[in-house]
């Protein structure tokens, strides 16, 4: 397999509602920024991967067809990858394989969702089997809250610990020029915010955003024409069976598997020491705690302690979500690719006000479905 690098990344200015652009315009904005960031034009791109969440989010089926003109995809290979919230990483993996396998030298991966257009929780509830569970589904928030409650006692994922995730990420988002929600909150604010699906409260939940992200993937040869590439050292995306007998409510098995595989590819044996920066896709605060454990940043049940130690703060030993994570912006279909783009830009030292000084190795985590799809990627400023 050939080495593959991220040579450019771009995002939209995320917002609750971008009335100035269509879905196509939104995707284009990110794509053009990524090309500019890579010192490339669309003529340099061999192949395009479009990533979105469920089409019910915005009522356009096969949206990649509609996007073709806006992206300059005419007469190029175009595929769409859709895998819920994790779709951006699943799409990046598809693009990575195109380059690694020699089918393309440069692939543009564009991920977006325009969540202001449709009925979000209702759309998400259709992830469930129409016979079995859908009528009881509360988007993914209902089950997420139930899982969190199951984790509280055995793992110590308290409401206070989750509130600290919200405080940290929202504070970090203030420095991110593309973030949609930029307002500092306190632990008390979070704890006193309105319960939506108890124990999940309003400030445990990210904003709902319109937004897009794009990255340019390049082979080792093609990467030479762009500035300081971020090398993809490992990437994996795993699925867990629906209604599986042995599904644990405490740890995500597909996350553990994805981390093991990506770490093995990247020769990571101690992620907490070897990584300089981590971006996780936290649909609710409680998930970030869970991901610390799933990614091996701490022992099982050690997440609250890790967070309280300040280690995952911007200036900590292992900063998590210096971009603000999903608390800054959450265009679902783009959110996973944003995590990858953020760690790539960190190791490329292009993160401006929220740059982690000297970041060389970054870990991105993503997930979709009803927590049954999980992906992990490792990027590095070094090729090997």
């Amino acid at each position: 397999m050939r080495n593959v690098a991220i040579v450019g990344a771009g995002q939209t200015h995320h917002a609750r509602r971008r009335t100035d652009v269509t879905q196509a315009g939104l995707a284009r904005e990110a794509a053009m920024r990524a090309l500019e960031d890579a010192d490339l034009t669309i003529d340099d791109i061999d192949s395009i991967v479009v990533c979105t969440g469920p089409v019910l989010f915005a009522a356009v089926n096969q949206p990649e067809k509609w996007l073709a003109d806006a992206l300059g995809a005419r007469l190029k290979p175009v595929v769409r990858v859709t895998s819920g919230g994790g779709t951006g990483l699943a799409g990046a993996l598809s693009g990575l394989n195109q380059v690694a396998g020699g089918a393309a030298e440069r692939v543009l991966v564009v991920a977006y969702d325009k969540l202001s257009e449709g009925a979000l929780q209702y759309s998400i509830s259709t992830l469930y089997d129409p016979f079995w569970g859908r009528e009881f589904a509360v988007g993914i928030m209902g089950f997420s809250a139930a899982y969190w409650r199951a984790r509280m006692e055995p793992l110590g994922h308290t409401e206070e610990a989750a509130a600290m995730v919200s405080v940290k990420n929202r504070r970090n988002a203030i420095r991110n020029p593309y973030a949609h929600f930029k307002k500092e909150v306190t632990v008390e604010d979070v704890l006193e915010s309105r319960p939506l699906c108890a124990p999940i409260k309003l400030l445990d939940v990210p904003p709902i955003s319109d937004g897009a992200c794009a990255v340019v993937l390049a082979s080792e040869g093609a990467a030479k024409s762009s500035p300081n590439p971020a090398w993809i050292r490992g990437m994996a995306y795993y699925c867990e069976a629906e209604n599986a007998t042995s599904r644990s409510m405490l740890q995500s098995e597909p996350l553990t598997l994805a981390a093991q595989k990506a770490y093995k590819q990247a020769s990571i044996t101690n992620p907490r020491r070897q990584a300089d920066v981590v971006e996780v896709q936290e649909p609710y605060t409680c998930f970030e705690l869970s991901y610390y454990e799933g990614l091996g940043l701490c022992r099982e049940g050690g997440a609250a302690e890790l967070l309280a130690s300040g280690a995952t703060e911007m200036d900590g030993e292992i900063p998590v979500n210096p971009s603000g994570g999903c608390m800054g912006a959450n265009p679902i279909g783009a959110a996973a690719l944003i995590r990858l783009a953020e760690v790539a830009q960190q190791v490329r030292e292009r993160c401006g006000d929220y740059q982690i000084p000297g970041a060389k190795v970054g870990i991105a985590q993503a997930g979709g479905g009803w927590a049954n799809l999980r992906g992990v990627a490792v990027v590095s400023s070094n090729r090997s």
Binding site: A70, G72, F131, W132, F136, V138
Partner: protein, 310 residues
């Protein structure tokens, strides 16, 4: 709504359901301007800055990928293709000066309609703005020099459009779901299937074990009591919600099964949830009163806590 029981062999019952999804679409500059200008009885296209090609309706992105110029095209053109449908006659119309065809209705008397016929726009002054172009009618007006002019306007583009998808589905139950829901409807019994390899009882009933990936061997009864694995008091309201908040969402492991069931817990004052519910406690199904069984999970009203009794 369930189709009910049906003994016909060639016509298995299906689960009929409708998704009604409301949307607010973002039109973008080009489509938004096109729609707004219909009220001014003008048809807007876009002209590529590099090729000069005129596209109707307009596009936000030209054939060179750059934002094109918005222009007004003549409201006359030539039919290039047409068809009769149950919704009337539809035609592809090459407006004068345009390089693409606009699909629209042919209205009025159009006996003898053929490719090459000349047509002119018919405006409906009393219609909603976005429906102001009623269609095109045959005309014998002489062909004049097509004049495509840059759009000059004070009318704001229509930025947002309300929209709705009504999606009707007929889901097939298949062998296992059919049996399971029939048992629910007629016997008030929950059944699952048993994996011959790991011996797990799986609900919903299915033909294969997810873990061992071997065919399941037998249908077995599952208790209507179980263990509460997780729960949440739902206060959030959302479009399409089947229950009115507050209510309790729960993940339950039915006794004798190896899987989780999503349902509601209730039967007590919801303000006492923290006091009455705890992870790991036993719960029991409360079946709906009367004979209104539909053969769905909603035949169980909710699960109620039964403390340490079992």
């Amino acid at each position: 709504m369930a189709a009910g029981l049906n003994t016909g062999i060639d016509e298995a019952p299906v689960f009929e359901t409708t998704l009604t999804m409301p949307y607010t679409l973002t039109t973008g500059r080009a489509a938004g301007t096109y729609l707004a200008e219909l009220a001014n009885q003008r048809i807007v296209g876009s002209r590529s800055s590099s090729s000069g090609k005129v596209v109707v309706p307009p596009s936000d992105y030209g054939d060179d990928g750059e934002p094109p110029e918005l222009v007004v095209v003549p409201a006359t053109g030539t039919v290039t293709a047409w068809t009769r449908t149950s919704a009337g006659t539809l035609a592809m119309i090459r407006l004068d000066g345009a390089d693409t065809d606009l699909v629209h209705r042919i209205v009025g008397d159009h006996f003898g309609l053929a490719n090459g016929c000349r047509v002119a726009a018919v405006w409906a002054s009393d219609a909603e703005t976005t429906n102001a172009l009623a269609g095109f009618e045959l005309t014998d007006a002489p062909v004049e020099e097509a004049e495509v002019v840059p759009l000059e306007t004070d009318t704001e583009p229509i930025a947002e459009l309300p929209y709705q998808l009504d999606l009707d589905y007929q889901h097939s139950y298949g062998l296992y779901y059919g049996r399971m829901f029939d048992e629910l409807a007629t016997q008030r019994r929950i059944v699952g299937t048993k994996c011959p390899s790991c011996q797990s009882v799986l609900i919903p009933a299915r033909g294969n074990c997810d873990v061992c990936f071997v065919p399941t061997a037998q249908v077995v009864d599952v208790a209507d009591t179980g263990t509460l694995l997780g729960f949440s008091v739902i206060n959030m309201e959302f479009v399409g919600q089947k229950r009115k908040p507050p209510y309790i969402y729960a993940e339950i492991n039915l006794d004798g099964s190896a899987t989780r069931l999503i349902h509601n817990v209730g039967g007590f004052d919801i303000d006492r949830t923290e006091e009455l519910l705890s992870i790991g406690m036993k719960v029991r199904a409360v079946w709906k009163e009367g004979t209104s069984a539909r053969g769905t999970l909603a035949d169980i009203d909710y699960f109620e806590p039964i403390g340490d009794q079992s």
